[in-house]
C-alpha cells in the first residue's frame, strides 16, 4: 500500500517534469493526452489505495513510511513520507477524482472553437500535474513540516495556474495577490510550527496528535504547559497561528481576498484548485490537528467564530455578484467556512461535545469536504462550459441558455440542488450533519448556520435562473452556444452522478476523528428545518429571478447602499489595497529606501566627500606653485631666525 501511495505521488511529479521539459517538443494534443492518461493511472492507484485501506484496515490505524529529509537537531527531523489514515485516504480519492475530471475536461476547454489547442497547452498540463502532486503530497504528509512544504507547493502551482494567461494584466495581478496573501498566512503557519515544536520537539503527527487518541495530544500539549506569551498559553498561540495558515489557503475572512481574483485562471483550474481541493487544505490541516485543537479551547473558538462569520459574509456577497465565477468563488468560501465551523463546534472547553455522537462535527466536516468537492467542481465545470460557449463571465451576457445547453443546464441544476441541501443529493446529508453538530454546540450556532444554509440555496438558484432562464438569449457571437464536446460533457455527467449518490455513503464508518465507527442518526427536526429553509431560499430566488422582471432592480434600488457594499465585497479589497499600497509600500518601503539612499549611503558618501575636501584643502599647500613654496619657506626661515635670535638674546 505504501508503494502504491508513493507511486500515486511520483506519477504526477514525473508527468510534471516530463511535460514541462519535453512538452515543448511534442504536439500540444499529445501532451494533453499523455497528461490525461497519466492522471487516469494515478486515479486508479489512488482508488486502489483507498479501497485497500478501508477494506483491509477496519481499525483505521495509521500506516506510514518516511525518510529523513533535513535534520534540524538530532531529535527535530523534517521527514518526507506517506501517511495513510481515513482522512488522507478519502482526500486521495477526492483529489484524484476531481483532478482526473479536470484533466479530461481541459482537453476540450483549453481549445478554441476549431478544436485547436491553445498555446501553452503542455505547460498547462505540466502545471496541473504539479498541482496534483503537491496536493496529494499535502494530504499524505506524515508530519506538520511536510504539510507546510506542500502548502507552499500548492501555493506555487496555484500561482502558476492562475497566471496561466500571464500576458493578461488581471491574471498577472491575481496570481501575485494569491501568492502573497497565502504566503502571509504561511508565515503564521510557520510561526505556529515553530512555537509548537519549540517545546514538543517534534513535527510528527503521530507524536503531536496520534490518531484520535487524545493521549498523544495531551502529551504534546503537556510539554507546553506553563509556556505563555503575553498571557496567552503557547499552545494557543501555536494553534491560532496554524489556523491562520490554514485560513489563508482556505480563504477564511479576512484572508479570503485572493480567492475571487484567482478566478482569472482558466475555469478548470478554478474547479480543481479553487473550489475542490486546495482551498480545503486549511480544513484538512485543522482536521489533522484536531485533537490538539480540542485541548486548546481558545484556538477552537477562534476557528469557530471566524468560520461562522466567513460563512455568512461570503454568502451575503455571493447574493449580488454578477460574475458567475466570482459568485461561485464566494459560495466556495462560504461552504469551506461551513466545514471549518463544523470542525470547531465539535469541541468546547477542551471537551468534545455531543455525547454519544461526539466528533460528529469532525465527521460532518470531512463528509461535506468530500461532497462539496464533487458538486462544486461540477458547478465550476458547468460554468466553464458556459463561459466557453458565450465568452463572458457576466451573467447578463448569458440568460436563457437552457435551450441551447440542456446537458449543462441539468448538471448545473443538480449541483445547485446538492449545494442547497435538497435530499437526496449529496449536499443534504453532509450539511444536515453539520447543522446537527452546530445545534449540539448551541442553539445560536445552529440558527446562524441554518440561516447561511438558506442564503446558500437563494444565491445558487439566483445564479441558476440568471444563466439558464430569465429572458431569451440574444446571440452576440457568430455561433450559437451549445453543449460542448464529449471531453467536457463527460466529466459533467460523472460528477453530477456522484453528486446525486454520494450522500448515501456511510461516511461515519470510514472517517472519524478517532478511527472508530460513528453511528449517525438522522435528526429529523434539524433535517426538516434545514430542507425547509433551503426551500424558502429557492422559492425566494424563483420569485425574484425565474422570469425577467423589475423586482431585482427595485430591490437593488431600495437598498442600494447595502447592495453596493455587498457587490464590492464590503470594501475588503479596497482596505487591502490601502494597507499594501498606502501603508506598506508608501509608508514603509519608500521611506526605508529613501532613508537608505539619503542617510546610510549619504553618510558614507559624506565621509568620502569629507576626506576628499580635506585632501583638496591640503592639496593647495602642494599646488605646484613655486612662489608660494618660497613664500612659506621664507617666512618659516625668518621665523626660525627670529626665534633663534630672541632665544640667543634672552640667554
Amino acid at each position: 500500500m505504501i508503494t502504491n501511495t508513493v507511486l500515486v505521488l511520483v506519477l504526477p511529479f514525473v508527468m510534471f517534469l516530463f511535460l514541462g521539459l519535453a512538452g515543448v517538443k511534442m504536439p500540444r494534443k499529445t501532451a494533453g493526452v499523455i497528461g490525461v492518461v497519466g492522471m487516469l493511472i494515478t486515479t486508479v492507484l489512488a482508488y486502489w489505495v483507498a479501497i485497500d485501506y478501508f477494506m483491509h484496515h477496519p481499525g483505521h490505524e495509521q500506516i506510514s513510511a518516511e525518510v529523513d529529509w533535513l535534520n534540524f537537531t538530532p531529535k527535530l527531523v523534517a521527514r518526507m513520507g506517506v501517511l495513510i489514515d481515513p482522512i488522507s485516504a478519502m482526500m486521495l480519492v477526492v483529489i484524484s477524482t476531481v483532478s482526473l475530471m479536470v484533466h479530461l475536461y481541459s482537453l476540450g476547454y483549453m481549445c478554441d472553437h476549431h478544436g485547436h489547442a491553445e498555446k501553452g497547452f503542455q505547460r498547462y498540463y505540466s502545471f496541473l500535474a504539479l498541482f496534483t502532486f503537491s496536493m496529494l503530497g499535502l494530504v499524505v504528509a506524515t508530519n506538520i513540516f511536510q504539510m507546510f512544504i506542500f502548502f507552499e507547493m500548492v501555493g506555487l502551482s496555484s500561482y502558476l495556474l492562475i497566471g496561466f494567461y500571464y500576458s493578461l494584466p488581471a491574471a498577472n495581478h491575481a496570481n501575485k495577490k494569491a501568492f502573497i496573501v497565502t504566503r502571509l498566512a504561511d508565515l503564521f503557519f510557520l510561526l505556529g510550527i515553530m512555537i509548537l515544536t519549540f517545546s514538543t520537539g517534534t513535527f510528527d503527527f503521530k507524536e503531536l496528535v496520534g490518531l484520535g487518541d487524545m493521549a498523544a495530544s495531551q502529551r504534546a500539549a503537556g510539554t507546553m504547559d506553563g509556556l505563555t506569551f503575553l498571557g496567552i498559553p503557547a499552545v494557543g498561540w501555536a494553534l491560532v497561528f496554524i489556523f491562520i495558515g490554514g485560513a489563508g489557503k482556505s480563504a477564511m475572512y479576512p484572508l479570503h481576498i485572493w480567492l475571487p481574483d484567482a478566478m482569472e485562471g482558466p475555469t478548470p483550474v478554478s474547479a480543481l484548485i479553487h473550489a475542490a481541493t486546495m482551498v480545503v487544505a486549511g480544513v484538512f490541516l485543522i482536521a489533522r490537528m484536531f485533537p490538539l485543537y480540542v485541548l486548546a479551547p481558545m484556538a477552537m473558538n477562534v476557528v469557530a467564530v471566524v468560520g461562522a462569520f466567513t460563512a455568512f459574509y461570503a454568502a451575503a456577497v455571493a447574493c449580488v455578484q454578477s460574475d458567475i465565477k466570482r459568485a461561485l468563488a464566494f459560495s466556495t468560501i462560504s461552504q469551506i467556512a461551513f466545514m471549518m465551523t463544523s470542525l470547531a463546534v465539535s469541541a468546547d472547553g477542551g471537551q468534545l461535545v455531543g455525547g454519544h455522537e461526539a466528533g460528529l462535527g469532525y465527521m460532518a466536516s470531512m463528509f461535506h469536504l468530500f461532497t462539496h468537492a464533487m458538486f462544486k467542481a461540477l458547478l465550476f465545470l458547468c460554468a466553464g462550459a458556459i463561459i466557453h460557449a458565450v465568452h463572458s463571465n457576466e451573467n447578463d451576457k448569458m440568460h436563457g441558455l437552457h435551450k441551447f445547453m440542456p446537458i449543462t443546464s441539468i448538471a448545473f441544476l443538480i449541483g445547485c440542488l446538492a449545494i442547497a441541501g435538497i435530499p437526496p443529493f449529496a449536499g443534504f446529508f453532509s450539511k444536515d450533519e453539520i447543522l446537527v453538530a452546530c445545534y449540539e454546540r448551541g442553539l445560536g450556532w445552529g440558527l446562524w448556520m441554518s440561516m447561511v444554509a438558506g442564503m446558500t440555496a437563494f444565491y445558487m438558484f439566483r445564479i441558476y435562473y440568471l444563466i439558464f432562464f430569465w429572458k431569451k438569449h440574444e446571440v452576440h457571437t457568430e455561433h450559437e452556444p451549445s453543449d460542448q464536446p464529449w471531453t467536457m460533457t463527460l466529466p459533467l455527467i460523472i460528477l453530477a452522478s456522484i453528486s446525486c449518490v454520494a450522500g448515501f455513503l456511510p461516511f461515519g464508518k470510514f472517517v472519524t476523528y478517532n478511527g472508530e465507527v460513528l453511528e449517525t442518526h438522522m435528526n429529523w427536526t434539524v433535517a426538516g428545518s434545514s430542507v425547509g429553509i433551503a426551500l424558502v431560499g429557492i422559492a425566494l430566488a424563483t420569485w425574484l429571478y425565474f422570469k425577467e422582471n423589475p423586482k431585482p432592480e427595485r430591490m437593488k434600488n431600495a437598498m442600494s447602499g447595502l447592495w453596493e457594499a455587498a457587490y464590492r465585497r464590503f470594501y475588503m479589497d479596497e482596505l487591502y489595497q490601502f494597507i499594501t499600497h498606502k501603508i506598506i509600500f508608501q509608508g514603509i518601503c519608500k521611506p526605508i529606501a529613501w532613508f537608505d539612499r539619503i542617510f546610510i549611503d549619504g553618510f558614507f558618501n559624506k565621509l568620502a566627500d569629507l576626506t576628499g575636501n580635506a585632501s583638496f584643502a591640503i592639496r593647495r599647500v602642494q599646488g605646484g606653485n613655486a612662489q608660494s613654496y618660497v613664500f612659506v619657506y621664507l617666512l618659516g626661515a625668518l621665523l626660525l631666525a627670529a626665534v633663534t635670535g630672541v632665544v640667543i638674546l634672552m640667554i
Partner: protein, 171 residues
C-alpha cells in the same frame, strides 16, 4: 680717514646697486630687467674692486655680466615677442612679496644692529691676493688648498653643460 674718491665711489656703487636692484624687479619689460641686472652686477664688481679683490671683480664681470646676462638676453629674445609687457602683478602677490622682503630686510637689519659689533669695523690695510697665490691655492691640497671644490665644480659645470644641451635639444 678714507679718501674722498673712495667715498664718492662707494656712494655711486651703493646707489646704483639699490636703484637698479629695485628697478630690475619692478620694471614691466623683461629685457630692461636684464639690463638693470647687468648694472647691478657691474656695481657689485665695483665693490669687489674697492675691496681689492681684482680677480673676483674680473670674474664677476666676465662670467656674470658677460656670460650670464647674455644668456638671459638670448633666453628673453627666444621666449618673448618684442614689446611684450609682463601682466600686472596682483596686489595680493605684491603684498606677499613686500611682506617677505621687508620682513627679511628688517630681521637682518635688527640682527646686524643687535649682534653686529663688527659692523663698524673699517677696512684694514689688506692688499689684493696675488694671482700666483690664488692659482697655487686653487690647485693645492694643503690647509689652504681648494683642489677638491675646484674639481667638483669642474664636474658640475660639465654636467650642467650636458644637461643644458640635453634639455634644450629640439626633439
Amino acid at each position: 680717514m678714507e679718501s674722498l674718491g673712495n667715498i664718492i665711489m662707494y656712494v655711486i656703487i651703493a646707489l646704483s646697486i639699490i636703484v637698479f636692484s629695485v628697478m630690475a624687479v619692478t620694471t614691466k619689460k623683461i629685457l630692461r630687467a636684464a639690463t638693470y641686472l647687468l648694472f647691478v652686477l657691474l656695481a657689485t664688481a665695483g665693490i669687489y674692486f674697492q675691496l681689492d679683490y681684482q680677480f673676483l671683480g674680473t670674474t664677476q664681470i666676465a662670467v656674470y655680466a658677460g656670460g650670464v646676462v647674455v644668456l638671459f638676453v638670448f633666453a628673453i629674445l627666444l621666449t618673448h615677442k618684442p614689446g611684450h609687457n609682463a601682466e600686472p602683478i596682483t596686489s595680493h602677490k605684491k603684498a606677499q612679496g613686500i611682506l617677505a622682503a621687508v620682513a627679511c630686510v628688517v630681521l637682518c637689519g635688527v640682527a646686524l644692529f643687535s649682534f653686529g659689533r663688527f659692523c663698524f669695523k673699517t677696512l684694514g690695510g689688506g692688499t689684493d691676493v696675488p694671482m700666483g697665490k690664488l692659482g697655487m691655492s686653487m690647485l693645492s691640497t694643503g690647509s689652504d688648498g681648494y683642489l677638491l671644490p675646484f674639481e667638483a665644480l669642474s664636474v658640475l659645470l660639465l654636467a650642467c653643460i650636458i644637461a643644458g644641451v640635453v634639455i634644450a635639444r629640439r626633439r
